[in-house]
Amino acid sequence: MFIDRYSPPSHLIAPDEVSKAMSNSQLARSIAKLAAALSIGSILFFLVLPTLLIIPMSLSQTDYIRFPPDGLTLRWYVAYFSDPDWMAATWFSLKIALATTVSATIIGTMAALALVRGDLPCRNALQALSLGPMIVPHIVLGVALYLVFSPLQLTGSFTGFLIAHTVLAVPYVLITVIAALQRLDPMLELAALNCGASRLQSFFRIMLPNIAPGIASGSAFAFLASFDEATVAFFISDIGGKSIGRKMFEDIDFNLTPVIAAASAFMVAISIGLMCLAHTLTQARTQR
């Protein structure tokens, strides 16, 4: 609501002129609103289209997508779940992702505590280093890790993947836990100490429950950072040990069938399910 001082008082303009001017500007405004909604809607459609496309692709009877589809079939899912190569890659990736989640969460949480509450001389340098894997191009890291792992015969091994993916996943844990620690009032802990709690008691009874949502979402990101990772996995996989990302990359390059879509649908279901779980856990915690 604002007063336009420069237009003549309303009683000097004919009433129908006022209503016409009003409806014209209202019309212009609603057209602008509609245009904005339409353009934002189409950008959102652009964002979700590739993910949504996976479902009809994985169910189509033909090996290419057709609209309208000729018919629906589950045979690509059957093919995915009965193919030993796909299953081996899937299990290998799940094992690595779970182990990475555990190691990255522990290492990242410890480091976050030290970076926020610790007494370290070169804190900024340490923080910059710990976020390094997010900035260094993954292909560069992939080539570098291959050079180190190959002579040690760590390519395609669980250990090799665990080291590489922990490095890649730690920054996600670090960022979410640092944010949680910065939101936590240090006075709470001081109060616990003053009331006679020991350092460890105050950590487990005060600090940990308060930063738990941050740790939970950090570990969910760590899981995805490993499970969805493909570039480094491309270089440190070998015939004996292949992640699902490497297997999918090979098949997209040489053997484009809807089995890839079925595998993708499975991966997306895991990712989205996990994220929804992390989200509800965080919500429940913060509402308490």
Partner: protein
């Protein structure tokens, strides 16, 4: 006042014991702090710093001229470097243009709408880059969905070659990196008080004027942060250009991939990787003020 008393008693302590005594109750002792970062330093030494050092070392192993000299001699490599920067720049521009309205809608819309918008931003973020690249192949290939639609509507009678072109790479990369631009802009817009815009409107500014003179300038930190993240990630992107791009659209990462998998020239691949690494670090150092990775990801939940 326990804190201050422990502080004064600290000063009397000799050097070694001070390692185990915290300076104040708010911080851990130096020894405990180092113990807490030790695992991170160990993993990073094995899985990050040592491999990168070995990579740089390998790039010099056959003498500077064999690798870096070759890089400078052949104009092809300078060309690839420039194309990489150009593609990264156009992806960044496109992502800002498309991402800003979405971030704005996410920050300003009513609860239900904002939730739908946020879901549309997060779903692709949780979909593997591989899967999204695969979907773009299916969309853009010769008998793909886009071509089928174009022919059905009579816009063309011949399928257009879209896959394996620079355009396809730019389009797919923009799609993949869009959430990384939206989130930092959103986190800045969300903290912007409504009162500023209301004040501008009260003083007589129209909606457009209020946006361009108040909202947009105040949201620029988010735009710069998102642009820097997007540009840095675009420089080093491998999967999407490798799958969606063709031989005509060679970028630094795909060139490195080709050197390692097809030509198996590791020293030269190491030199190319070193150049890409230095390029990325330069961008990060130049724009580190704008780059607040933490801000962008803090808003993820």
């Amino acid at each position: 006042m326990r804190t201050s008393s422990s502080l004064t008693s600290m000063k009397a302590l000799p050097g070694f014991a001070s390692l185990f005594k915290p300076r104040s109750a708010r911080v851990f002792s130096p020894a405990a702090s180092w113990l807490l970062v030790m695992p991170l330093l160990a993993v990073f030494a094995i899985g990050f710093l040592y491999p990168l050092a070995k990579l740089v070392d390998l790039s010099f192993s056959e003498g500077i001229t064999a690798t870096y000299g070759r890089l400078l001699d052949d104009p092809l490599y300078a060309d690839v470097l420039l194309t990489t920067a150009a593609v990264a720049l156009s992806v960044t521009m496109a992502a800002i243009l498309l991402g800003y309205p979405v971030a704005y809608a996410m920050a300003r819309a009513r609860k239900r709408t904002a939730f739908i918008v946020a879901a549309c931003v997060f779903v692709p973020l949780w979909t593997s880059v591989l899967i999204r690249s695969y979907a773009w192949i299916v969309l853009l290939q010769r008998n793909g969905i886009v071509n089928t639609l174009l022919i059905a509507t009579g816009l063309t009678d011949q399928p257009i070659k879209m896959l394996y072109t620079q355009g396809a790479v730019t389009l797919a990369m923009t799609h993949v990196l869009l959430p990384f631009v939206i989130l930092p802009i959103f986190s800045v817009l969300r903290t912007l008080p409504d009162d500023y815009i209301r004040a501008a409107r009260n003083l007589g500014a129209g909606p457009a004027r209020a946006f361009f003179l108040v909202t947009l300038p105040l949201s620029l930190p988010g735009v710069f942060a998102g642009a820097t993240i997007c540009f840095v990630l675009a420089l080093g992107f491998y999967i999407t250009p490798a799958l969606v791009g063709g031989p005509g659209s060679m970028l630094m990462p795909t060139l490195i991939g080709q050197q390692t998998t097809v030509l198996v020239d590791w020293p030269f691949a190491a030199a190319l990787s070193t150049v890409l690494l230095i390029m990325t670090l330069l961008v990060v150092i130049l724009f580190r003020k704008t780059l607040s990775v933490q801000k962008g990801f803090g808003s993820v939940h």
